[in-house]
């Protein structure tokens, strides 16, 4: 029997070992089977309560978590706050205390400030799952990407994975680079110099040349380019960005023939990715959606299945 999952929270990929990551992926694989059943519901987390606390709009991630909660029969409550409430009204601490009074078993949090889930973990008894914090981490996204890759390639070890785009502002890039390195894959980070953060090499080798990143890649992960980056003097124009870093059919040819293309969505067609590529045979975006639910089920199960991790 495999070892118990020793974590109380999922705040990031950073604290996980390769073994823990594989545990989550294996469990997610078992959860995928549940999603294929006629009755997509198991009683596993009956009576356990989960709060989805979303400070940033995110239909995709939130609905994925909600689906996972329902399939596992957890009672869930979603709170969406358009903006950080610090300016107008309640502080995060007060929100935390209010939630605490409801005694939830788990809080899933998306927040614009890096480290906000750590803050919550300090002030709540509930298990905390980071559903994306600032530019820090988005662990469940990295786990679902890894699951998708493992399904497509049969392994993660040794895979060359190009992570391309706005690495500076991307929690997805950070979590993915950490995860892939831990499990023995070879991520390469790529983007225009203003969008590669200082010390990016701590994650993985980095390059500013797209062709170099894609050369012989088993997978390409395209990051979303936020249009507001144009105003921060990061880039002159989306047109020039596409010219230099957009993924086109021509460029994909430099990768391995069976290359897989991932995108955390939502996509900017014609900016980071050409439509022909997005709709092409390499795209695994739909697998990513199913795997998203399965991975989140696995995380819920592993964090809530017992009496809350380590006693």
């Amino acid at each position: 029997m495999s070892a118990p999952f020793p974590h109380r929270h999922l705040l990031g990929i950073e604290p996980l070992t390769a073994e823990h990551i594989v545990s989550v992926l294996d469990t997610a694989e078992a959860m995928r089977e549940v999603l294929g059943r006629p009755i997509k519901k198991v009683p596993t987390l009956r009576g356990r309560s989960v709060v989805n606390l979303f400070y940033e709009a995110s239909t995709r991630t939130r609905s994925s978590f909600e689906m996972a909660e329902r399939v596992l029969s957890a009672d869930s409550l979603s709170i969406a706050t358009a903006t950080s409430s610090v300016q107008k009204g309640e502080t995060l601490l007060d929100t935390a205390k209010n939630l605490e009074a409801m005694n939830p078993d788990m809080i899933i949090m998306r927040h614009g400030s890096s480290g906000a889930p750590h803050f919550l973990a300090r002030h709540c008894r509930a298990a905390i799952v980071n559903a994306g914090d600032g530019f820090h981490e988005h662990p469940t996204q990295a786990l679902l990407d890894a699951l998708t890759l493992r399904q497509k390639k049969g392994r993660l070890e040794g895979l060359k994975v190009a992570i391309v785009g706005d690495v500076l502002h991307s929690r997805v890039a950070r979590s993915n680079a950490l995860l892939l390195t831990k499990v023995g894959a070879k991520p390469v980070l790529c983007g225009p110099p203003p969008l590669l953060p200082v010390g990016v090499e701590q994650y993985a080798p980095a390059t500013t040349r797209l062709d170099e990143a894609i050369e012989g890649a088993d997978a390409i992960m395209m990051l979303r380019l936020q249009r507001e980056r144009m105003s921060g003097a990061f880039l002159p124009s989306t047109r020039e960005y596409h010219e230099l870093y957009g993924l086109t059919v021509e460029r994909v040819k430099k990768a391995k023939p069976d290359v897989v293309i991932l995108h955390p969505g939502p996509m900017n067609r014609g900016v980071e990715i050409a439509s022909e590529v997005a709709d092409g045979p390499y795209s695994v975006i739909l697998d990513q959606v199913t795997n998203g639910v399965a991975v989140r089920m696995a995380v819920l199960y592993l964090l809530l299945g017992g009496s809350g991790g380590e006693a």
């Binding site: 294996d26 078992a30 519901k41 009683p43 696995a298 199960y301 299945g305």
Partner: protein, 230 residues
Amino acid sequence: MTPPRGFRERLCLMDAARLDRTLSRMAAEICERHPDTARLLLVGVHTRGVPLAQRLAARLPVRPVVGSLDITLYRDDLTTIAPHPLTRGTAIPVAIDGRVVIVVDDVLFTGRTVRAALDELVDFGRPARIELAVLCDRGHRELPIRADYVGETVSTARDEIVEVRLSDEDGEDSVWLLEPAPVPAVTPPPPPPVERRPAAKAVPARKAAKPAAQRARVAARRKPAPRRKR
């Protein structure tokens, strides 16, 4: 295979030959009740129910479909055990509606595993009938559940363990009765226990120990196997 921590072998309930004979007998009983074995669905409960289901299926005239159940997601004690990654998973390869499903497990004890298996099965559809086949019924039921096919009925103490070892998983075919090992002595190894000592501390929560006083009589009186057919 070594017994779990805190336990030691007390009695061999079945050796390989006996296990083989028992399975053949059970297969015969199944065949007697359901002559059209091709229509059956055998579902093994992880871990040892799965190879047992396969062995039973192999002994039937027409091999039925074999599935597997990982009942972890249906357990009623998840809040008290540490969560383990799911690595086995459930696989029901055919639609179960209208079929006769035989759930196969190694040991029938409290009945809770079977309860979970039944709950899980009905989430896959509406079978015509569900039956239960177990290699060993050791008593101590906590739910109103009985088996339709029983390899052996064994009288056990509550804190003992019936351990089924199968070559697929464990490298040998046998069934053992394990008893709590005495607290390890400091100096000379204790003589074979005439009188039982209090149970060792490390008893898995899964098959929790009751106080020693509550234990049943020691003898492992095996009922003669009901041999209806030869």
